[in-house]
C-alpha cells in the first residue's frame, strides 16, 4: 500500500467528495489561494474554482452560520475553522444552532455539515492556540465528533463525514499533518462509530485518540520490553462512541488506561472511566486510570509546555501503577 501524509489524505478526501457531489463546497480562512494553513486544501481552488473553494473573512461565527444556512438550502458545506481555538469564537453557532436546530424543529431539517478544524498543542503556540477541547462538544448532544489519528482514518472518516446528513465536527491535529501512513488506493470509507484496535494486547487496554494514539503505541512498545502486552484501542469517533468495542476489550484485559491530550478534569476520559466502573466494577482488576493534560493553561516555554501535555511515559507510569 502507498504511504501518504495525513494532510495529503485529507486533501484527497476533499477532492474525491467534491468530484463526486457538486453540492459539496468548502469555505474558510486562507483555504483558496493560500492553500490552507496546513496545506489540506492545496490545489483545490485550481481544480474546483472560487465558487466551491471560498476564501472567507476572519469571521468564524459567520462562517458556521453561513454553513448552516447553506445546508438548509440543500448544499453540503465543509467549512474550515483553521483551528479548534477559533471554534471557540463560533460556539453559539455550533452549539446553539448547528447542534440544536434539527431537534428543535422536530426533525424537519437535515444539516449535512462537516466542520473541520485542527486541535492540539505541542508546538509552543501558547495558551490560546493549543486547545484539545473535544470534550466540550461530546458534552453537547446534536453534533458528531470525529477525531482521526492516522492518514488512513483521516481520509476514510472525512469522506464518510461529508456524506453524512448530520453535523460533524472533524478534529484534526496540528502535529499529525506531516505524519505518514499507508492509505488504501481507490474508494476508502471508514464508518462513524467503529473503533479500531491499533495494537493487540491482553494485559491492559489503553484507550486513546488523535495524537495520543501514537503516544500510546510508543508506551506499548516500552511496556512490551517489561513483558506487559498493552492493547491500544482508538475509538476514532467520540460521538458516536463504540462502547461495544471498548467493553469487549476491557472484558478481556480487565484493566484500562484512558489517554487524552485534553485536560483531565471533566475530560472524555472521565466519562469513559465512569461508564467502565458502572459496567465492570466487579470484573476490573484495578481502578481505571486517566492520563491527560495538567489542569493549567498551556504555557509557551518548551519545558513547561512538555510538562503540561501528556506523553508516552505518563501512559507507561499509569499502566505500571495497575499492572505491577
Amino acid at each position: 500500500m502507498r504511504e501518504i501524509r495525513y494532510f495529503e489524505a485529507l486533501n484527497e478526501a476533499l477532492a474525491e467528495e467534491m468530484r463526486r457531489d457538486p453540492d459539496v463546497f468548502l469555505m474558510g480562512e486562507d483555504i483558496g489561494l493560500f492553500g490552507g494553513t496546513f496545506r489540506v486544501t492545496e490545489h483545490l481552488l485550481a481544480e474546483f474554482g472560487a465558487k466551491r473553494v471560498r476564501d472567507t473573512p476572519i469571521a468564524e461565527a459567520g462562517i458556521v452560520g453561513l454553513a448552516i444556512g447553506a445546508a438548509m438550502g440543500g448544499l453540503r458545506p465543509v467549512p474550515e475553522l483553521m483551528t479548534m481555538n477559533f471554534a471557540i469564537v463560533a460556539m453559539d453557532q455550533i452549539i446553539n444552532h448547528a447542534a440544536k436546530l434539527r431537534y428543535m424543529f422536530g426533525g424537519q431539517l437535515r444539516l449535512p455539515i462537516t466542520l473541520r478544524a485542527a486541535g492540539g498543542g505541542g508546538t509552543q503556540k501558547g495558551a490560546q492556540h493549543s486547545h484539545s477541547i473535544e470534550s466540550w462538544f461530546v458534552n453537547s448532544p446534536g453534533i458528531r465528533v470525529v477525531i482521526p489519528s492516522t492518514p488512513s482514518d483521516a481520509k476514510g472518516l472525512l469522506k464518510t463525514s461529508i456524506r453524512s446528513d448530520d453535523v460533524v465536527l472533524f478534529i484534526e491535529h496540528e502535529m499529525l499533518y506531516s505524519t505518514k501512513g499507508a492509505v488504501p488506493d481507490g474508494e476508502h470509507l471508514v464508518p462513524l462509530g467503529v473503533a479500531d484496535v491499533k495494537r493487540r494486547g491482553s494485559d491492559v487496554t489503553i484507550v486513546a485518540w488523535s495524537k495520543m494514539v501514537h503516544e500510546a503505541l510508543r508506551a506499548a512498545d516500552a511496556l512490551a520490553v517489561e513483558g506487559i502486552e498493552a492493547e491500544v484501542l482508538d475509538p476514532r469517533t467520540l460521538d458516536p462512541f463504540d462502547w461495544e468495542a471498548l467493553h469487549e476489550s476491557v472484558a478481556r484485559t480487565r484493566r484500562c488506561v484512558v489517554a487524552e491530550e485534553g485536560w483531565r478534569t471533566v475530560g472524555v476520559g472521565a466519562e469513559i472511566a465512569a461508564r467502565l466502573q458502572e459496567r465492570f466494577f466487579y470484573e476490573l482488576d484495578a481502578p481505571v486510570q486517566r492520563v491527560g493534560a495538567v489542569d493549567v493553561p498551556t504555557p509557551y516555554a518548551k519545558g513547561l509546555e512538555q510538562a503540561a501535555l501528556p506523553h508516552a511515559d505518563d501512559i507507561v507510569r499509569a499502566v505500571l501503577k495497575i499492572t505491577t
Partner: protein
C-alpha cells in the same frame, strides 16, 4: 397599486395573527403554554407586508418573536397552537415551542432563541440560492437589539462581499427587552447602519402594512435581479411586554397609547372600506371566520396527544448509531 384581493388577504392575515395571539396570552395565563412566549401584537404589518411580497418558495428565517411570521407564511393555526401546547401534533412535534416554530415545507426556517443567531444562517440560505443559480431570495427578520450583536456585522459583511440575495428586515420596536435603542445602539436609526457595508438601507412605517408591502415589492425586485443585499428598518411597536413575564415598567403609558392609535389593523380596515376595496360586511365575515379558526386551533391543541416517550430520542440526528441514547 396592490391588488384588492391581496389587500383583503393582508387584512385577514394581520387579524388572524392578532386573534390567535390574544388566545395565546390567555392560554399562557392559564399555564397551558409554558416557557418563553413573545407576542407580536402591534407589529403584524411588518410580517404581513413583507412576506406577502415574496414568492412561496423564497426562504424566510426569523427570531424568537416568530408567531406572526409563521402565520403570515401560511402556517397552520392548528399546528401552531398545538406546538405552543407542547403536543405531538405541533409543527415541531412539541420539541420547539413558541420560540422555535419552523415550517420547512413552506420554506420557513424558523425562530432562534439567540438574539442575532439566525442572521448569518439567512446569508447561508442566500448563498445556497446563488450557488444553485435559482432566482429565489431570502428574507430575514430580527429586532433592533440584534443589530448590536457581532454576528449581525459578520453576516452583513458576508452578504455584501458575495452580493447575496438577502433582505435584512429589522423590526425596530425601540426596546431590546427593556433597554431603549438609544441606550444600546450608536446609531438608533438602524437603516443607516447599512452604509457601513455599502448596501442600501431604507426606513418604512412598520405600522402601515401597505407601505411595508410597497417598499418590499420594490426591494424584492432589485434583490431578485441580482443587485445584492438590502437592509430595511420597519419602525413599529409591540403593545405587550418583551415576553409574557414582562410588566413593561420601562415605558410610559402615554407612549403606548400613542402607538395604539396607529394600529395597523383598523388603519387598513378604514382604507379598505373608504376606498371601496371591500365592504364592512366582508370584514365582519373575515372576523367571524378567524374567531372560528382560533377556537378550532385551541380545540385541536387541547385534544391532541402529548408527544410519545420514545420521541424524546428522535430527531437528534438523521442517522442513528448503537451508542446513541434510546428508549
Amino acid at each position: 397599486m396592490i391588488p384588492a384581493a391581496d389587500q383583503v388577504e393582508m387584512y385577514r392575515l394581520m387579524l388572524l395573527i392578532r386573534r390567535l395571539e390574544e388566545r395565546v396570552a390567555e392560554m399562557y395565563s392559564e399555564q397551558r403554554i409554558g416557557g418563553f412566549t413573545h407576542l407580536y401584537i402591534g407589529q403584524e404589518a411588518v410580517a404581513v407586508g413583507a412576506i406577502t411580497a415574496l414568492n412561496h418558495d423564497d426562504p424566510v428565517i426569523d427570531t424568537y418573536r416568530d408567531h406572526g411570521h409563521f402565520l403570515a407564511r401560511g402556517g397552520d393555526p392548528r399546528r401552531f397552537m398545538a406546538e405552543l401546547f407542547g403536543k405531538a401534533t405541533g409543527i415541531c412535534r412539541g420539541k420547539g415551542g413558541s420560540m422555535h416554530l419552523a415550517d420547512v415545507e413552506r420554506y420557513f426556517y424558523g425562530g432562534t432563541g439567540i438574539v442575532g443567531g439566525s442572521i448569518p444562517i439567512a446569508v447561508g440560505l442566500a448563498l445556497a440560492c446563488q450557488y444553485r443559480g435559482d432566482d429565489r431570495i431570502v428574507v430575514c427578520f430580527f429586532g433592533d437589539g440584534a443589530t448590536n450583536q457581532g454576528v449581525w456585522h459578520e453576516a452583513l459583511n458576508f452578504a455584501k462581499l458575495w452580493s447575496l440575495p438577502v433582505i435584512f428586515i429589522c423590526e425596530n420596536n425601540f426596546y431590546g427587552i427593556g433597554t431603549d435603542v438609544r441606550l444600546s445602539s450608536s446609531l438608533s436609526e438602524v437603516h443607516k447602519k447599512a452604509s457601513g457595508y455599502g448596501m442600501p438601507g431604507f426606513r418604512v412605517d412598520g405600522m402601515d402594512v401597505l407601505a411595508v408591502r410597497q417598499l418590499c415589492e420594490e426591494v424584492v425586485k432589485t434583490v431578485r435581479g441580482g443587485a445584492g443585499p438590502v437592509l430595511i428598518e420597519a419602525v413599529c411597536y409591540r403593545y405587550q411586554g418583551h415576553s409574557m413575564t414582562d410588566p413593561g415598567r420601562y415605558r410610559a403609558r402615554a407612549e403606548e397609547e400613542l402607538w395604539r392609535k396607529r394600529d395597523p389593523i383598523p388603519r387598513l380596515a378604514k382604507s379598505l372600506v373608504g376606498d371601496a376595496i371591500t365592504t364592512d360586511e366582508r370584514l365582519h365575515e373575515i372576523e367571524r371566520e378567524i374567531e372560528a379558526a382560533t377556537e378550532d386551533a385551541v380545540a385541536f391543541a387541547e385534544s391532541s396527544p402529548d408527544p410519545s416517550p420514545e420521541s424524546l430520542y428522535e430527531d437528534v440526528h438523521s442517522e442513528r448509531h448503537p451508542g446513541d441514547p434510546h428508549a
